[in-house]
Structures are given as structure tokens and as C-alpha cells.
């Protein structure tokens, strides 16, 4: 298949960029590194678009087939006859979609950084890291084998660490990078155990076979699956894998790293923490979707974790004053949306609506969210560059000075609030339909959260572009910063028109979303926008009065519900004191003590018996004679 070459190019060009810029960038290529990185990624993007086009249209004659192509499977590590880790590439609807998302957003970030990171001392290192991240993310979405996914998962984690801690001379950045890595690593422990359980149950690591073998458990009444604490082992494996995904996707309670990760450069936040890495968890659940839809228990877990994250993040975002942190919590909230949509399958009562609408909605929202969130972050980058501060109080009235950013920001805010005809409306519509049919309570939470989303996004919008009187003339923005904004804005505006259900599901129906169910979310969004406008359109003390009205809740939300403090307490007081210190004591005193004791004992024995070598001839002569006599007696009388 000619596509194989293109797909390999997609993967390998960013890797090549990483190696080239990493090894030679600092000294030899320097200022040109950005262009090289961006050019490589441009080619990669073209290949991705071509492959996706081929995939989605190539089977136009056979709409029943949305084939899963495993392009090649090379055995990488073999654990005996039956089990091996293969390296392969898998193309199916979601992976084809994801390669488009990852490459396009990454290209936008590369181009934007040409202007944003100009003059930065470690310019080429930055582009090298971006290349590494893009490669890792592409590898993750294209992997055909769950262990290969894990390998790329870890690579993505490493790239994220490197990029968050890019400004390594800032202690906050270093701490944030460590926190991100440690929290996701901790979640990855669950992922690994889940992999082991699932692969053990299915006797394979390949996705296709895994899904095949484990789905049949459910349908075979003769196999008695092993049960642990009331849940079948397969469910435990799925929950553990979900925990791994939750860590990477910053879902409650493993979300603590995402706000801190905003210490990295803003284009990095756009790429990693808005559009690509954080959706890795959602992608993983989507990849194993046939398994996640088997039992109600697992579905409940996915559903509630997603919903709680969405609501919690939205509440916290209403109180934050750092522009990037608002966007970070917004990301967490939207990912919560994506996740709980994946948890609605089993809960559907029999109805005419395809229960896979949750899946469709989640993937669609992933696609549109990538565009408008990346757009929001890049605009934030432009704003921060202008104002040299992240705090909202330093901004205000910027609409004259940043006209392009203003328009793009507005488009993105409208999209995220779900106002038609922007893209967010369509994707949220699917999610909310799924929630409505699955669980009314979840629907209520989702609806309320949409209102909050609209509120805090427009709070941000009005605080930045309106609030204070607009003065000044347009700030000269380099072309390389403007083009990505425009392209992403087009995507945010019009991506809703893509018939996603057609693309993802075989025989997916194009259901009409303009119906009764479309109205409540729009109304609530408009209500949120209205409240935000009333509070923040002009400078006044209304926000303070509103905050005072909810004082307790406001303080709790402002302090992020003290979750960080709780974690710190548990780690420092409990884990360090009760587990760490005794373990260290045992290691120092018992294990080391044993070794030291051996050494000391040897030294003491040696000191005691070294007197034998006294240097006196007569002592030696005495020993000599005793030895001979002893041997003589031994051999003459005892050994016959």
C-alpha cells in the first residue's frame, strides 16, 4: 500500500527533526532551527492530510467498511512462543482523525513559535523538543499494540517534562515539570498493571486481538472469569488502564499537575496541554471502547470521573485570575466532557438513538476542542507578550491594540460556549444528547457546567478586551504569529460542519442536532455570557460583591478546593513519615548496617590475627614446626 510510506514519513519526520536539531541545532543551525522544524512538520502534515483523505474517501465505494489496517507488525520483544510485543501501525477512524489533529496543531504551534520564541537562547532545543513530542504523540495514536502505546505514552510524558521545564532556571518551572511527571508516572503505574492484567486475560498485547478475546468473555457463558473483590478481573484491568488515562488527561483527582504546567512557554501549553497530550487518556479509552462498554460498573467509573472533573474545573475556573490557569481549568473541564461522553453507552435505555452517540460526541469534541483551545492559548500568548504579565488585572481594554487576537479570541470563546454555528455547538450537542439519554443527573451537571463554561470564558474575554477603556493603536504582530491564529479560527468556526458520525462509525447516521435538545444548552450559554458581560463589561465593584455573596464557596474555589494541600499533607505527613522514614531507617541501619557490620567484623578479625605476622623469626619458626608436626600426625595416624 503506498500509504505505508506516507505514514512512516508522518512519524519519522518529526523524529528526524528532533535528532537533527538536538544534536546540531545549538551550535550549527541556531536561528534556522525553527524553519527546519516547521518545514519538516509541514511535510508531515501534508502526508497526514493525504493519508486521512485517502482513508476516509478511499472506501467511498464501500461505506460499510471502516477498516482497521494494521500496516505492519514487527516483533520487537518476544516473551516466548505465545506472547510478544510488536511494533505496528494501526489506522482506523480515530487514529486517522488524530494524526490530522496532532500534525495540524503542531504545525500551527511550530509556525507561531517562529515569532514567539525568537531570540530565545535555547531556540533549537525548543524545536527539538517539539519534534520529539510530535513524534511521541503520533506514535501513541498510531500504535497497534497496547505495550507500544505504553512506550509512546512514557515518551510523551518525557517530552512534556522537558517542555514544561523549558525555563529551567526558574524554580517554579522545575517544580511544575517534576510534579507533572511524577503525577502522570504514578498514574502510569495503574496503566501498566492494567496492561498486564488485560494482556494476561487475553493472552495477547495486540489491540485487535485484545478486544476480540476479551469481548468474547462476556458472550461465553462457559468461561468463568476470575473475580476480585466483586469485580471481574477484566474490569479491574480496564479501571486501572483508565486511571492511567485519567492521570495523563488531568481528570479528578489526578489533575493537580495541569495548572502548574502552565509554567512552560505558551505555545507549549497550546500544543500539549490543550490539544494533544491531555487527550491521550480519552484516546486510550476510545481505542479500547468495545471493552469499556461491556459492563455498567466500568462505564459508571468513566462517567462519574469525567462529570466530576468537568464540574469541579468549571467552578475553579470561575475564580482564577491568571489567564493561563483559567484556560488550564477550562481544558480539564472539556476533557471531563469528552470522558463522560465515553461512559454513556451502557446506560442507554432501548431507544432509536444509536448509543454510540457518546463516542461520536467525544471524538468530535476532541477534534473541535483542539482547534479552539489551541487558538485560545495562542491568543493568550500574544496577549501575554504584549502585557508582560499573566494576571487579568494587568490586562483590559486591549481590543484596539490586538484586533486580530480579539476577533480570534471571541470566535474561540463562542465556540467553547457552544453558540451556533461555531464548532463547539455541534460537538457539545452530541455529548449532551448522550448524557440526556443516559442519566438525567449527569445531564443536569453537564448543562450547568456549560453555563459555567460560557460564564468564565466570557469573564476572561471581557476582562481582557473590554473592562478598561480601549486605547492605543494596533500592536504590530509578526505574520508568523497571525497566520496560525487565522487558520485555527477558521477551524474553530467551521469544523462543526464535518459530518463526524459518518466518518467514525460504519453506517453512522447524520442525525439532526437542530431539534428540541439543542435549545437548553444555547440558552444557558447565553445566560452565562450575559452575566459575565454584566459583571465585567465595565470596571466596577460588581464582581467583588458577587464574590462576597458566595464567600465560602468562592474562597474554596479560589484555593482550588485545597486538593493540592491535601496531596501534600498525605505525602509529607503520611507517606514520608510512616513509610518513607522507616524504610530509610531500615535501609541505613539494617541493610547498610549489615554490610558495614561485615566490613567492621572483618577489620576487627584482621586486626586481631595480624599479630601472627610479628616480624620475629622465632615465632615463624615455631609456627613452621607446629605445622609440620601437625601434618605429620595427620598423615601418619589419621589419614591411613
Amino acid at each position: 500500500m503506498p500509504n505505508t510510506a506516507y505514514i512512516l514519513l508522518i512519524l519519522l519526520l518529526p523524529l528526524f527533526g528532533f535528532v537533527l536539531l538536538g544534536l546540531f541545532g545549538r551550535r550549527y543551525i541556531r536561528g534556522f532551527s525553527g524553519v527546519i522544524g516547521a518545514a519538516l512538520l509541514f511535510v508531515s502534515t501534508l502526508c497526514a492530510l493525504y493519508v486521512a483523505y485517502n482513508y476516509f474517501s478511499g472506501n467511498a465505494g464501500m461505506p460499510a467498511l471502516r477498516r482497521t489496517y494494521t500496516l505492519f507488525g514487527a516483533t520487537w520483544l518476544s516473551f516466548g512462543r505465545d506472547l510478544s510485543i510488536d511494533m505496528g501501525i494501526l489506522i482506523d477512524p480515530i487514529s486517522a482523525m488524530m494524526i490530522v489533529v496532532v500534525t495540524v496543531i503542531s504545525l500551527m504551534v511550530h509556525v507561531f513559535s517562529l515569532g514567539y520564541m525568537k531570540g530565545e537562547e535555547r531556540y533549537s532545543t525548543y524545536y527539538a523538543f517539539l519534534g520529539l513530542f510530535t513524534f511521541s504523540m503520533l506514535g501513541l495514536v498510531l500504535s497497534s499494540n497496547i505495550f507500544e502505546t505504553y512506550i509512546f505514552w512514557e515518551l510523551v510524558g518525557v517530552s512534556s517534562f522537558l517542555l514544561i521545564g523549558f525555563y529551567y532556571d526558574r524554580p517554579t518551572a522545575v517544580a511544575a515539570a517534576k510534579k507533572a511527571f511524577i503525577v502522570t508516572r504514578f498514574a502510569d503505574l495503574g496503566f501498566l498493571i492494567g496492561i498486564l492484567i488485560l494482556s494476561f486475560q487475553a493472552q495477547t498485547l495486540d489491540f485487535g486481538w485484545l478486544i476480540n478475546n476479551l469481548s468474547s468473555f462476556e458472550h461465553s457463558p462457559f468461561n468463568e472469569p476470575p473475580v476480585f473483590l466483586g469485580l471481574p478481573l477484566v474490569d479491574w484491568g480496564l479501571i486501572l488502564v483508565f486511571i492511567g488515562g485519567a492521570g495523563k488527561s488531568a481528570l479528578f483527582p489526578l489533575h493537580i499537575w495541569l495548572p502548574d504546567a502552565m509554567e512552560g512557554p505558551t505555545p507549549v501549553s497550546a500544543l500539549i496541554h490543550a490539544a494533544t497530550m491531555v487527550v491521550a487518556g480519552v484516546y486510550l479509552v476510545a481505542r479500547l471502547y468495545p471493552l469499556y462498554t461491556l459492563t455498567r460498573d466500568v462505564q459508571q467509573v468513566v462517567l462519574y470521573v469525567g462529570a466530576i472533573s468537568a464540574l469541579l474545573a468549571a467552578i475553579i475556573a470561575c475564580t482564577q485570575t491568571d489567564i493561563k490557569r483559567v484556560l488550564a481549568y477550562s481544558t480539564m473541564s472539556q476533557i471531563g466532557y469528552m470522558m463522560f461522553a465515553l461512559g454513556t453507552y451502557r446506560l442507554f435505555p432501548p431507544s432509536l438513538v444509536d448509543p454510540k452517540i457518546g463516542f461520536i460526541g467525544s471524538m468530535f469534541h476532541l477534534f473541535t476542542h483542539a482547534f479552539f483551545k489551541a487558538l485560545l492559548f495562542l491568543c493568550a500568548g500574544v496577549i501575554i507578550h504584549l502585557v508582560h504579565s499573566n494576571e487579568m488585572k494587568d490586562m483590559g481594554g486591549l481590543r484596539k491594540r490586538l484586533p486580530l487576537a480579539h476577533i480570534c479570541f471571541l470566535i474561540a470563546c463562542l465556540a467553547i460556549s457552544g453558540i451556533p454555528p461555531f464548532s463547539g455547538f455541534f460537538s457539545k450537542e452530541d455529548i449532551l444528547s448522550a448524557a440526556w439519554r443516559a442519566d438525567k443527573f449527569i445531564y443536569a451537571i453537564a448543562l450547568f457546567t456549560s453555563g459555567l463554561t460560557a460564564f468564565y470564558m466570557f469573564r476572561l474575554y471581557f476582562s481582557v478586551f473590554w473592562n478598561k477603556p480601549a486605547t492605543g493603536h494596533p500592536h504590530a504582530q509578526p505574520l508568523v504569529e497571525s497566520i496560525p491564529l487565522v487558520i485555527l479560527a477558521i477551524g474553530a468556526a467551521f469544523a462543526g460542519l464535518i459530518p463526524f458520525s459518518h466518518l467514525l462509525i460504519v453506517g453512522g447516521h447524520v442525525h439532526s442536532t437542530i431539534g428540541r435538545n439543542a435549545v437548553p444548552p444555547v440558552l444557558i450559554a447565553l445566560l452565562g455570557i450575559g452575566i459575565a458581560a454584566w459583571l465585567y463589561y465595565k470596571q466596577s465593584d460588581r464582581p467583588q460583591k458577587a464574590a462576597a455573596a458566595f464567600r465560602g464557596l468562592y474562597t474554596a474555589a479560589y484555593h482550588k478546593f485545597y486538593i493540592d494541600e491535601l496531596y501534600l499533607f498525605v505525602t509529607k505527613k503520611i507517606i514520608f513519615n510512616c513509610i518513607g522514614r522507616p524504610a530509610a531507617w531500615i535501609d541505613r541501619n539494617i541493610v547498610d548496617g549489615l554490610m558495614n557490620g561485615l566490613a567492621v567484623a572483618t577489620a576487627r578479625i584482621s586486626a586481631t590475627i595480624k599479630g601472627i605476622q610479628s616480624g620475629k623469626v622465632q615465632d615463624y619458626a615455631w609456627f613452621f614446626f607446629v605445622g609440620i608436626a601437625g601434618l605429620a600426625i595427620l598423615f601418619i595416624y589419621i589419614v591411613r
Binding site: K610, G615, K616, Q618, A621
Partner: protein, 104 residues
């Protein structure tokens, strides 16, 4: 002299050997150690001569052995005394315990 059985003479030489060994272990003066070594050598000489007389009276091997032992003992005593004098010049003592530099 067959009246005295051979092993009486051998007991004598053994006793002399171990007396010499006692002196070698106990004496602190290097020259007295040398004297003890001479006793040991002499005990060996007695052995050879006795064997020659009692066991191989038709040969003279034992006699020659003793002769050579005496010659070598003389040379060895001379060299030993030269060493003792040299050592005495360096450490100003003929105490064998003063020459214990080769210890731990």
C-alpha cells in the same frame, strides 16, 4: 658396636636436635641462635655417621655426607656472623626481636 642398638644413638641425636630447636625458639640473642643451629646440624651429623656404621658398613657415604655438612656448616656460620655484624652496625643490637621490621 652392636651392643648399643641403633635407635639408642638415634634417640640421642633426636634429643640433641630438639634441644637445638628449643634453643632456636627461645634464645633472643642472634649468636646464641646460631649456636643452637650448630647443635641441630651436629645431631644430623650423628645420624649420618650412625647409619653409615650400622646399616651400611661397606660404604663410606655417610662419612662423606658428614664431611660435607661440616664444611657447609662452617661456611654458613661464617656468613651468618657476617650478617649479624652487619645488622649490629645498623640497629645497634643483636636482639633478634629488634629486627622485626617485616611485620604487619
Amino acid at each position: 658396636m652392636p651392643v648399643i642398638p641403633l635407635h639408642y644413638i638415634l634417640f640421642l641425636s633426636t634429643a640433641l636436635f630438639f634441644i637445638g630447636m628449643y634453643g632456636l625458639f627461645t634464645r633472643r640473642n642472634m649468636i646464641t641462635m646460631l649456636m643452637s643451629v650448630e647443635l641441630i646440624l651436629n645431631s644430623v651429623n650423628i645420624n649420618f655417621v650412625a647409619f653409615n656404621k650400622y646399616l651400611y658398613p661397606e660404604n663410606l657415604e655417610g662419612l662423606f655426607f658428614s664431611l660435607f655438612i661440616i664444611a657447609i656448616a662452617a661456611a654458613e656460620a661464617a656468613v651468618a656472623i657476617a650478617i649479624i655484624i652487619n645488622l649490629y652496625r645498623n640497629i645497634r643490637s643483636v636482639d633478634v626481636e629488634a629486627a622485626d621490621d617485616m611485620k604487619f
